[in-house]
């Protein structure tokens, strides 16, 4: 699927969000719904125009053009996995935090990431130690943050 076609799906998603917001807000009192009606109505019209523009762009150019924004260039990744690789790391960290807890998952993530991409032992150990030090020193020792209980807490020794 081309980027232009993907872009249409995203615009359609935003359109649905606008419509859903209006639908949900229709039962609210005026005080709560006034801003949703004012901006949501405008949003649906704008989203429809954007959908039309995206559709026309695909048919005009064949593949569709996604022009980058001023603020930063749109993400372009090469290679077989593209952005999926880093997403896998992020979701892996997310589940690791739930499974084994923050104090272990974060330093482990840092160490594994550095070593996986060919970083030296020294870099890996120093960054891991800094992360753990930051986590423990600021959040545990100073702020006494209540870390969530990991799912594997019953079998883990900590």
């Amino acid at each position: 699927m081309t980027r232009g076609r993907e872009a249409i799906f995203f615009t359609a998603f935003i359109t649905l969000v606008m419509l859903a917001a209006l639908w949900v807000a229709k039962d609210w009192p005026v005080r709560a719904a006034i801003i949703i009606f004012l901006l949501g109505g405008l949003g649906v019209v704008l989203a429809a125009v954007q959908l039309f523009k995206d559709y026309r762009a695909i048919h005009a150019e064949g593949v569709g053009i996604v022009r980058p924004t001023f603020e930063v260039a749109a993400i372009e990744h090469e290679g077989k996995w593209g952005s999926l690789e880093i997403w896998a790391w992020l979701w892996g960290l997310y589940f690791a935090i739930h499974l084994i807890g923050f104090p272990i998952a974060l330093p482990l993530f840092v160490f594994a990431y550095v070593k996986f991409y060919g970083g030296g032992w020294l870099t890996a150990i120093v960054l891991t130690a800094l992360t753990w030090g930051f986590l423990y020193g600021i959040y545990d020792y100073l702020l006494h943050v209540p870390w969530p209980k990991p799912w594997l807490s019953a079998v883990l020794p900590w």
Partner: protein
């Protein structure tokens, strides 16, 4: 006013505040010369930390210090390796990098640092000078005018922060919608919470900012992989670069004015300021044949404007509570969280805090320039850190920061969801700044709209100031759309 200025200066020079300012400058400089990590991402990462602070002066010192200097250090990578450290230093590459290739890297760097310093101080002075004009104006405004102003702020950022005006406006509306999530205290209605108690308090801006800005940058950095290009020679002409800035003082002054003006207009960030200033330099300077091949005037124009822009940016932020861009929207969020009330209060009862911002802008620029000048050679080496040494610590900070929003497991889920939204927005060319701005201003917009309606019915639309503001709003929304249509129509003819 003099007493408030003195109070502000004494405040930021207190040991604790000064230490926080130095920390902000150090972090701002660090992220400035690490390509891929922008100022907004860093500010988003800092939000959870600063929101636990009690003293507003410390927050000003840290965040304004950080925000003020990002563009100073970003010249390192723009000049040495042709990769902009921040979006505000893109135009610096055009002449800075050829200078480095010609063996004049040191001259380009010193010129950029001094131009940044003087531009930054100029921006702060304009902010100072604008106070007497702004005060009566802001105090004469009522809820209808403030409603139109908030609407104008979101619209302008939506229209101008990308080259996709409709997407920008939709992002702004989406931001306002997100700000309404939770229990509405006035009507008692549960809005978009779907019986999930976690959502009753609303969605924390920290989560949105981290997800929308920080994670997509990390994804981009990780996706590009590899170390950044081979280093150029540090080169010669360090003192000459300083002399160059003073030789071309008139150019610096003009481009600084452009920077302040761009900063003042909501929606136009530093990425626009440097290009406007560079274009102005090329159009107006004599002997322009060397531009693009290593002309120091190109570096001075770009770097002077992007730092001056910060002072201009804080004028609408402090006076109207309407941030000029993403960074100031995030700074504004932190200000509100610690009890600073942007708007009329900043020009009356909290004037000393406004002066603290001005002094921080000045002092932070001086410190950043001193650091860059003294440690230029060792700092230049850090530019070449590989991605695998940068990505994991940032991810760790982001996850900790997100969890610190509410100390709830759902915080992490929220982070992942907004990261996906931010990723897709960036991937498909949707500007993200309007979303954050819409979220920041959503509460105020709703309140001002309701107050206007209940106090004046529909008569508020006939108030002279409101009519003027609506005309300005429509003009600023429609004119860029019109010019972009005209440009698009002209393209095939040019081909």
């Amino acid at each position: 006013m003099f007493e408030a200025a003195l109070e502000g200066l004494i405040g930021v020079l207190q040991p604790e505040a000064f230490m926080f300012m130095c920390l902000g400058v150090a972090i701002g400089s660090l992220v400035g010369f690490l390509p891929g990590i922008g100022g907004p991402s860093t500010l988003a990462i800092m939000l959870p930390f600063v929101m636990t602070m009690k003293d507003p002066l410390l927050v000003i010192a840290l965040l304004v210090g950080l925000d003020a200097v990002g563009n100073t250090a970003s010249a390192f990578t723009s000049i040495l390796i042709s990769v902009p450290g921040s979006s505000g230093s893109q135009a610096t590459i055009l002449d800075g990098h050829p200078m480095a290739k010609n063996g004049e890297g040191a001259r380009a760097l010193s010129a950029s640092f001094v131009a940044s310093l003087l531009g930054g101080i100029f921006g702060a002075l304009v902010l100072f000078a604008s106070l007497p004009i702004l005060r009566p104006l802001v105090l004469s405004f009522s809820s209808p005018e403030f409603f139109i102003l908030t609407l104008w702020g979101v619209s302008m950022v939506g229209i101008l922060s990308g080259n996709a005006p409709i997407k920008g406006l939709l992002a702004g509306i989406l931001g306002v919608f997100i700000s309404t999530v939770g229990l509405d205290a006035k009507s008692g209605v549960e809005r978009f919470a779907f019986n999930v108690s976690y959502l009753w308090e609303g969605i924390d801006l920290v989560l949105v900012a981290l997800g929308i800005f920080a994670i997509p940058e990390v994804i981009d950095l990780a996706g590009r992989k590899g170390t950044i290009a081979k280093a150029e020679e540090f080169g010669r002409g360090y003192v000459q670069g300083i002399i160059d800035v003073f030789t071309h003082w008139w150019l610096l002054l003009r481009t600084s004015i452009i920077g302040v003006w761009v900063g003042f207009l909501p929606g136009l960030g530093s990425s626009v300021a440097d290009w406007f200033a560079y274009a102005h330099a090329v159009q107006t300077e004599k002997n322009r044949e060397n531009f693009g091949r290593g002309d120091v005037r190109g570096v001075i124009a770009s770097e002077g404007s992007n730092n001056a822009k910060e002072g201009g940016d804080y004028i609408p932020t402090l006076a109207f509570g309407i941030p000029g861009g993403t960074s100031s929207a995030l700074v504004l969020t932190a200000f509100i969280a610690v009890g600073i009330k942007p708007g009329p209060d900043m020009l009356t009862s909290q004037l000393n805090l406004t002066f603290a911002v001005i002094w921080t802008l000045v002092i932070a620029n001086i410190i950043a320039t001193a650091i860059c000048m003294v440690f230029a050679r060792p700092i230049a080496k850090i530019c070449f850190m590989p991605f695998y040494a940068i990505v994991p610590p940032i991810v760790a900070f982001v996850f900790i920061g997100a969890f610190a929003a509410n100390f709830h497991n759902y915080d992490l889920l929220g982070l992942m969801m907004f990261s996906s939204l931010g990723f897709f927005m960036r991937r498909y060319g949707w500007p993200r700044a309007p979303l954050v701005l819409g979220m920041v201003l959503g509460d105020k917009m709703e309140l001002y709209l309701w107050l206007s309606y209940t106090r004046y019915g529909f008569e508020w639309l006939a108030r002279p100031a409101v009519i003027v503001l609506i005309i300005l709003l429509l003009a600023s929304v429609l004119y860029p759309i019109y010019t972009s249509k005209r440009r698009a129509a002209a393209l095939p003819a040019e081909d």
